[in-house]
């Protein structure tokens, strides 16, 4: 979907057109859900958070000024939502559940599962901002500038988070970390 079409649909959605908003959901859900799945770890929790973020976006669409893509705005909403809603205990329980699921699958002898588990553990040890920056930029879904806007961090900090986080993940996979 190009920017002009997105702007037209946003305007229609602001006027209460649910069909237009549905099309915006369809267009933006892959990037938003992929980010949250990588960030949160549990697919069910990530999709639940994504749905809340989209529903909240419907309420605050007036605040979207159109200076960036809508998916950037939605990811910002989702990240702020997660920050407000997080509870250390529930996060730990969700993480343990995710580990248990992965470990069960790993015992089946799947090497890919072992890699997933190692990456997930390494990812969960990272600070929140660093983990979020990696989840946004690793899959090439968002640029560093977009990640900076979503996380409300300086561009240099985001680049540094991505570089350091990438090195930690590569180390977890047993690959030599690249300098930079």
């Amino acid at each position: 979907m190009d920017a002009a079409e997105e702007a037209r649909l946003v305007q229609a959605a602001r006027n209460g057109d649910m069909t237009a908003f549905g099309r915006l959901v369809d267009a933006n859900q892959p990037a938003v859900r992929a980010f949250l799945r990588r960030f949160v770890g549990s697919y069910a929790d990530a999709d639940d958070l994504a749905q809340e973020a989209f529903a909240r976006t419907w309420e605050v669409l007036e605040r979207f000024d159109g200076s960036s893509r809508l998916r950037t705005f939605i990811c910002g909403v989702a990240f702020q939502y997660w920050r407000r809603a997080r509870r250390a205990d529930s996060r730990r329980m969700a993480r343990d559940d995710a580990y248990a699921q992965l470990e069960d699958q790993e015992t089946a002898g799947d090497a890919r599962m072992a890699q997933k588990l190692a990456l997930r553990r390494a990812m969960d040890e990272l600070p929140d901002d660093q983990r979020a920056a990696l989840a946004l930029c690793l899959g090439q879904d968002f640029t560093h500038a977009e990640a900076s806007e979503i996380l409300k961090l300086p561009l240099g900090t985001v680049k540094s988070h991505v570089t350091r986080g990438r090195a930690r993940l590569q180390a977890a996979l047993g690959a030599p970390a690249e300098a930079g």
Partner: protein
């Protein structure tokens, strides 16, 4: 393997992008959005009612504090009551479920 390929591999291992279109996801989002809208409308209505009845309830104590006796206030209270009744009757006529003026309103809304 290039850095880009390595990044994409790690991203894929951490969480795959969902397949699209996903009508189930869209349905859930629209359902949640409509629930939030209904909840917000109900909250707004409740706050308006609380404010209205609080204001009505405050009239007499405030009037009493200002030295307004019942004899002095009676014409004002009666006039206010008549106006309120007129407002209620007009609202039911124009906006009620079986509104007398529903047809006229529909024509005006269409044009």
């Amino acid at each position: 393997m290039s850095e880009r390929d390595a990044d994409l591999l790690m991203a894929d291992l951490l969480g795959e992008a969902p397949e699209t279109p996903d009508p189930g996801f869209r349905y859930d989002v629209l359902f949640r959005a409509s629930i939030r809208a209904r909840r917000r409308a109900a909250m707004s209505k409740a706050l308006n009612q609380i404010a209205l009845f609080s204001a009505i309830g405050l009239i007499f104590p405030v009037g009493g504090a200002l030295g307004l006796t019942w004899e002095m206030a009676q014409p004002l209270v009666m006039a206010t009551g008549l106006l309120a009744l007129g407002l209620a009757a007009a609202s039911v006529t124009i906006l009620g479920p079986r509104a007398v003026l529903a047809r006229s309103r529909a024509i005006l809304t269409r044009s």
